[in-house]
């Protein structure tokens, strides 16, 4: 279908964007890459009166490393992250996850800020940000504030972003030396929404994993850190029994809803399978 009618504004500065968002309230939606928003409008799932296109506001794009912090501008596209040498070296989890996001043509337009602000439960970046303990920079008329990824996602498509606030950057602490990462997801076809996925980070030494972080997507209303599974495997030699104890602990971390493809128990099964694969990959 075609999108319903709306007006379009293209502010040249954040201040101008905040003014528009303030005056139009819930009638306005922020447009970044548009790869989810325009699809939703075409399907008439949403009917804003005004789209505020923030893509020409300078300073919201690009990847920079300063010391132990990587800053990714909100308008940086999935494709730019996929090809960034800085990301490949300092935050390889993101480079591993990027090719799973939809398809090449969509990765050229879609942005990391848009994905995080939308908070689709099957999206890749939110889970990666939780696994890497990222922080989001949220800007509004009254200034900037920082919210940690693990506190940002409140519910299905609901986040800590307040009305008339814009997510401007993602800050990622560079993982310590010896840290490894793996990103896995299950889809019916390449590029489809994930039925389940995991973003995993750990240090591997002498057959054991430490500082393990397992963040899941597609198995809850938000990305979920599986603290019980993480504790079950932390510091232990990676035996079949240790993997099983982490898998069993997952039932205490995840309580997935079913969807049209998979029952809740099936979703949990996917998560168990992904957990074993991820732990073996981290150790291998």
């Amino acid at each position: 279908m075609k999108a319903p009618p709306f007006a379009y504004a293209r502010p040249k500065s954040l201040a101008e964007a905040f003014d528009l968002l303030h005056s139009h309230g819930d009638d306005a939606r922020v447009l970044a890459g548009g790869q989810s928003l325009l699809a939703a409008l075409n399907m008439r799932l949403s009917a804003p009166r005004l789209l505020v296109d923030i893509t020409r506001i300078p300073g919201l794009s690009g990847i920079q490393r300063a010391g132990n912090k990587i800053t990714i501008g909100a308008l940086t596209t999935h494709a730019e992250i996929e090809r960034s040498p800085v990301i490949a070296r300092a935050a390889p989890l993101l480079a591993q996850a990027a090719p799973h996001i939809a398809h090449a043509a969509i990765r050229n337009s879609g942005t990391i800020g848009g994905s995080i602000a939308l908070a689709d439960p099957a999206a890749e970046w939110p889970a990666c940000c939780v696994a890497l303990d990222a922080t989001f920079v949220l800007a509004g008329k009254k200034g900037r504030r920082r919210v940690r990824a693990r506190e940002f996602f409140h519910d299905l498509y609901a986040t800590a972003l307040k009305s008339a606030e814009v997510l401007t950057a993602v800050e990622i602490p560079v993982p310590q030396a010896g840290s490894r990462s793996v990103f896995l997801e299950l889809t019916r076809r390449r590029g489809d929404y994930a039925m389940a996925g995991v973003a995993a980070v750990a240090k591997a030494a002498r057959g054991a994993l430490s500082d393990v972080r397992l963040a899941y997507l597609g198995v809850g209303r938000t990305p979920l850190l599986a603290r019980k599974a993480m504790a079950a495997i932390e510091g232990k030699p990676l035996s079949a029994a240790a993997i099983k104890s982490a898998q069993d602990a997952l039932a205490g971390d995840l309580d997935p809803d079913g969807d049209v493809y998979s029952a809740p128990a099936t979703k949990l099964h996917y998560a168990r399978v992904l957990t074993r694969r991820a732990l073996e990959a981290l150790n291998g």
């Binding site: 279908m1 075609k2 999108a3 319903p4 009618p5 709306f6 007006a7 379009y8 293209r10 303030h22 005056s23 139009h24 309230g25 819930d26 009638d27 447009l31 548009g34 790869q35 325009l38 699809a39 409008l41 075409n42 399907m43 009166r49 005004l50 789209l51 296109d53 893509t55 494709a79 090719p99 939809a102 398809h103 090449a104 043509a105 969509i106 050229n108 337009s109 009305s163 008339a164 076809r189 390449r190 590029g191």
Partner: protein, 169 residues
């Protein structure tokens, strides 16, 4: 939010862009997609409209040299950009080798997906000249074909990659 402007919002927007090397200026509906703008305003009907929600790839175009979905891009977002369609790429000879290979290998039947398929394939051939068959399939995963079963399309693209690597221009 409390403060709302009662003023009627302007639902049209003026855009100026380059399409296949030609400057174009129009006043359009803000909600108009780039693909509909090209087809309906400019008569460039080579790019097709399929699913209209970013899944099928029939509307694949190039904007500033990058492939995008014409149905997930507003014409307003293309203001100031350079857009290339299948017409431009075909007339310039840019995709001649791929067109020839698709023809030779029967890599199309009804032709609906072919313009998008060729533009996506051209993107791969330029950026990953050593792509394997798996990588070809991965790159085309966002372009649906309901006729060929894909095998002939992968064959055609592979043959172009091989010809290029054995005879670099």
């Amino acid at each position: 939010m409390a403060k709302r402007k009662p003023a009627r919002l302007e639902q049209t927007v003026e855009i100026a862009l380059t399409v296949n090397g030609i400057k174009v200026t129009r006043r359009i509906d803000a909600r108009q997609h780039l693909i509909d703008f090209l087809r309906e305003e400019l008569g460039l009907t080579g790019s097709h409209v399929g699913c209209e929600h970013g899944v099928c790839g029939a509307c694949t175009l190039r904007v500033d040299g990058k492939i995008v979905r014409g149905c997930l891009t507003l014409a307003a977002q293309a203001d100031g950009r350079s857009v290339e369609t299948i017409e431009g790429l075909s007339d310039a000879g840019t995709i001649a080798a791929l067109q020839e290979a698709f023809h030779k290998r029967n890599a199309l039947q009804c032709g609906y997906c072919t313009p998008g398929m060729l533009i996506a394939a051209h993107d791969l051939v330029t950026r990953h000249p050593r792509a394997t068959r798996d990588e070809i399939r991965e790159h085309l995963s966002g372009n649906y074909c309901r006729c060929t079963g894909y095998h002939a399309i992968v064959d055609a693209i592979e043959s172009v990659l091989k010809a290029k690597s054995s005879n670099p221009v």
